[in-house]
């Protein structure tokens, strides 16, 4: 007891020691009160990916310099993309090395406090990389989904597991790659695996015990609402996809939880699944206490082009046609960006933000006016199979009113309908489409000798209220980077070319760029320690942290 008191005295007397209080749900709800911390995947439950820190400005951002680098290739792991967004809590950074090594770092120096590496099942199979996009925190526990379908609570101080539950079967292609979201006392997550014929779901777990509280099936079974969007007398729904790839959002006033869902299975041959295939390629609004569906909106009914709605729901309030409305902004893989009423799901607007030829717009009810389907001969479709955007986080700045979208411009794929048969644990997709843009590779990436007609990239800024395109920052290659906006009107993003850069949030002017030597396939975030603002980005297999030169 005396020893403990002495230690306590020594620790609190240290100048570098910061208070580390448990992260209550109230802190998550009011993350804007502590902009020095980054407490959730998108920086807040409204998922704006917007920091209120203002030390870095358009005038001084050219003085950014690298502070530290942390290699994110896990021990004894193959080279892999690094898609995680770190959390920062009171000077401590928590992040994940692919696939599931959790680390706690000094956010000022990058020095490691601890690493936790769960033992993973060799049966794990993942469609799109042995990756993890991040953690959630509540109290003194971190929460992580694993590629073998487990959800693990980890003591944030000790780096040891608190509980570990099996959520889904890895041998059937279920994997957890998304950062969980915390709502009240629950940890909420869902599986990837739409390319393996999974039946998707969103599930909530008691944060203290790991006990499952509810489960919402993103592909409704017999007796569940929406099941009639699948063929009668068929088991197509059992392998209907509807994966969860990225973290959702939460509105405490409406008490609604929002998640985007992935493609229906099989991806590229819709013959086995006539119908709209709910709730694939949709946003679902759930009661986070019960999992009850309040409303849904399906962006791409009966998808054949892999247009997952794997996007973060961006929530804001704004004036819409003369009255204040609670809206949701959504730039979709299918090439349209949307404004929805998030209280009701009402479609307010949908407009293309890239070249689109599969639909001639969207009707007044929000249904795309589809004009193209996959054919045995091959159908050329804009945007391409990777989409107009994908899982990369957009950003919304309440100051500029602009919605910033990482965009794939003028890309196309040829879809040729091929035979497909479900076999448990095997890929269940159909015939792979072709495209001009190569797969995202690790390391330095592929060379680019394409012409602009074969695809290019952009960060685009749209006025969220009017829909007007305000500016484009054009890149020679496409981008898998998320976007961060700041309350000082700086926009940070990166791309496949290995640059991390800062733009003027109002004009799109390039203000600064740093060479990170590897492809950016993660979202930037910002935090502050001892009054100094930092910006962090994963690129290649390393985490780079910048601050203004002192």
């Amino acid at each position: 007891m005396r020893l403990r008191a002495t230690l306590l005295l020594v620790m609190t007397a240290g100048a570098a020691v910061r208070a580390q209080q448990p992260v209550t749900f109230d802190r998550l709800l009011h993350a804007d009160r502590e902009p020095q911390n980054w407490l959730t995947y998108s920086g807040g439950l409204f998922s704006l990916r917007h920091t209120l820190l203002t030390q870095i400005t358009p005038a001084n951002v050219r003085n950014l310099e690298l502070q530290w680098v942390f290699q994110t290739r896990g021990p004894a792991e193959p080279v892999e993309k690094s898609e995680a967004t770190p959390l920062v809590v009171d000077g401590v950074m928590y992040t994940v090395l692919s696939p599931n090594h959790v680390v706690a770092l000094d956010a000022v120096t990058g020095r490691m406090f601890w690493m936790f590496s769960p033992r993973l099942s060799p049966l794990a199979r993942v469609c799109c990389g042995r990756v993890n996009r991040g953690l959630a925190i509540l109290g003194e526990n971190l929460y992580m989904g694993t590629i073998d379908g487990h959800l693990i609570a980890i003591d944030a101080k000790a780096g040891k597991p608190v509980w570990d539950v099996a959520v889904s079967k890895p041998e059937l292609g279920y994997s957890l790659t998304v950062a969980p979201i915390i709502v009240k006392d629950k940890v909420i997550i869902g599986p990837a695996g739409g390319e393996y014929g999974i039946r998707g779901f969103i599930a909530a777990f008691d944060a203290k015990t790991g006990r499952e509280a509810w489960r919402f099936n993103t592909v409704p079974g017999p007796g569940e609402k929406g099941h009639d969007s699948w063929p009668a007398g068929s088991d197509a729904w059992e392998h209907g996809g509807g994966s969860i790839w990225v973290t959702g959002s939460y509105d405490p006033d409406l008490n609604l939880l929002y998640f985007g869902t992935g493609n229906p299975g099989p991806d590229w041959n819709a013959d086995p699944r006539p119908g709209a295939n709910l709730y694939s390629d949709s946003v679902v609004a759930l009661n986070p206490d019960t999992g009850e569906l309040k409303w849904h909106y399906q962006f791409t009914p009966h998808d054949e082009f892999d247009y997952d709605s794997t996007q973060v729901p961006v929530l804001t309030d704004m004036e819409w046609q003369g009255r204040q409305r609670k809206v949701m902004l959504w730039a979709n893989r299918n090439g349209f960006w949307y404004v929805l009423d998030r209280a009701t799901g009402e479609f307010l607007r949908g407009a293309p933000f890239v070249r689109v030829n599969w639909a001639e717009g969207i009707d007044e009810k929000g249904v795309p006016k589809r004009v193209l389907n996959a054919t045995p001969e091959g159908t050329l479709v804009y945007p391409n199979n990777q989409g107009a955007t994908n899982w990369y986080s957009p950003s919304f700045s309440p100051r500029t009113g602009m919605f910033y979208i990482p965009s794939w411009m003028d890309t196309y794929s040829t879809y040729t309908k091929g035979d497909v048969e479900y076999k448990a644990g095997n890929q269940f997709v159909g015939r792979f489409p072709t495209m001009t843009v190569p797969a995202l590779r690790t390391g330095p990436g592929a060379v680019n000798t394409r012409t602009p007609q074969e695809g290019w990239g952009a960060i685009q800024a749209f006025d969220a209220r009017t829909g007007e395109l305000k500016w484009q920052f054009k890149m020679a290659d496409v981008t898998d980077s998320g976007v961060l906006s700041t309350a000082s009107d700086v926009v940070f993003a990166g791309g496949r070319e290995g640059y991390f850069f800062a733009l003027n949030g109002r004009t799109g002017e390039l203000l600064w760029k740093g060479n990170v030597g590897g492809q950016v396939s993660a979202g930037p975030m910002s935090y502050a320690v001892n009054g100094r603002q930092y910006v962090a980005i994963n690129a290649g297999s390393a985490l780079f942290v910048y601050a203004l030169r002192q």
């Binding site: 892999e80 292609g173 190569p438 797969a439 000798t449 791309g495």
Partner: protein, 262 residues
């Protein structure tokens, strides 16, 4: 150590294959490799080993592209499936081919599904080599096995990566289907200097090329007044320069070029 290297190689392959984005070039290269190295046992349609239908995605062990690449590279111990010397990229292209070759629903016209796109060159490769060095004057621009200039595409392994009919077509119509890796560009600097060459790489801020003097040049776009892709190939057409028999012979020689490690 070997195991570590294998792991690294596999990892790179995982990354290459993990997204649904095979290019047409990947698929065509994979088709070549499949027909030359795999079809002997698996059959041109991938169904000759019992229990396996490669083009329908039916495998005994593999559950995804990662497994397929590993098996192509490492083989399966205790079975007749041997290891190969394919790089991760090459193995990835074979997987790309298999994934693209699923029979099209209700349409048997898919050339891949009907046994592969490879046609057998009809000509005489020895006579073709003589044409390459002589009447065709190909060696004036192209390079084979380390000999020849570098501006035009290196043909050392052209027989592995291009089918005979595509080579035939290129000889008579060089502007057809110019590959992204064989593009020529011209840059004009703000001072008025012109720099032409083969495009090697580019990004938002810079361009890398091999110029006419075989120098590796990196340019800043900010220093350029103009940058254009040349729409026509520097290669002449042999439509009226060689007879059909000579074209067949030349193609037969090109098809025989299988690289330094055939």
């Amino acid at each position: 150590m070997t195991r570590v290297i294998a792991l690294v190689v596999l990892a790179a392959a995982v990354a290459a294959a993990q997204e649904h984005s095979y290019t047409q070039a990947d698929i065509e290269n994979g088709a070549r490799l499949y027909q030359s190295s795999c079809a002997g046992c698996h059959g041109p349609d991938g169904e000759m080993v019992p229990g396996i239908e490669l083009k329908r995605g039916q495998f005994r062990r593999a559950t995804g592209d990662v497994d397929l690449i590993q098996i192509i590279q490492s083989g399966i111990a205790g079975t007749t499936m041997p290891p190969s010397s394919f790089t991760e990229t090459q193995a990835g292209t074979i997987v790309a081919y298999l994934r693209s070759a699923a029979p099209a629903s209700g349409d048997p016209s898919n050339p891949f599904a009907r046994g592969g796109p490879v046609t057998i060159a009809r000509g005489n490769p020895s006579r073709g080599q003589a044409l390459y060095d002589g009447k065709g004057d190909c060696a004036r621009c192209h390079r084979v096995n380390g000999s020849g200039p570098r501006m035009a595409p290196d043909l050392t392994e052209i027989g592995t990566i291009r089918p005979a009919r595509e080579l035939q077509q290129k000889l008579v119509d060089p502007n057809a289907n110019i590959r992204p890796g064989n593009r020529y560009v011209e840059a004009v600097t703000r001072r008025g200097d012109r720099i032409a060459g083969r495009l090697l790489n580019q990004d938002t801020f810079t361009v890398q090329l091999l110029d006419g003097s075989e120098r590796l040049v990196s340019l800043s776009r900010a220093d350029l007044r103009d940058f254009t892709y040349l729409k026509t190939s520097p290669m002449p057409s042999y439509r009226d320069k060689l007879t059909q028999v000579e074209l067949d012979d030349l193609v037969a020689y090109l098809v025989s070029l299988k690289g330094l490690r055939p």
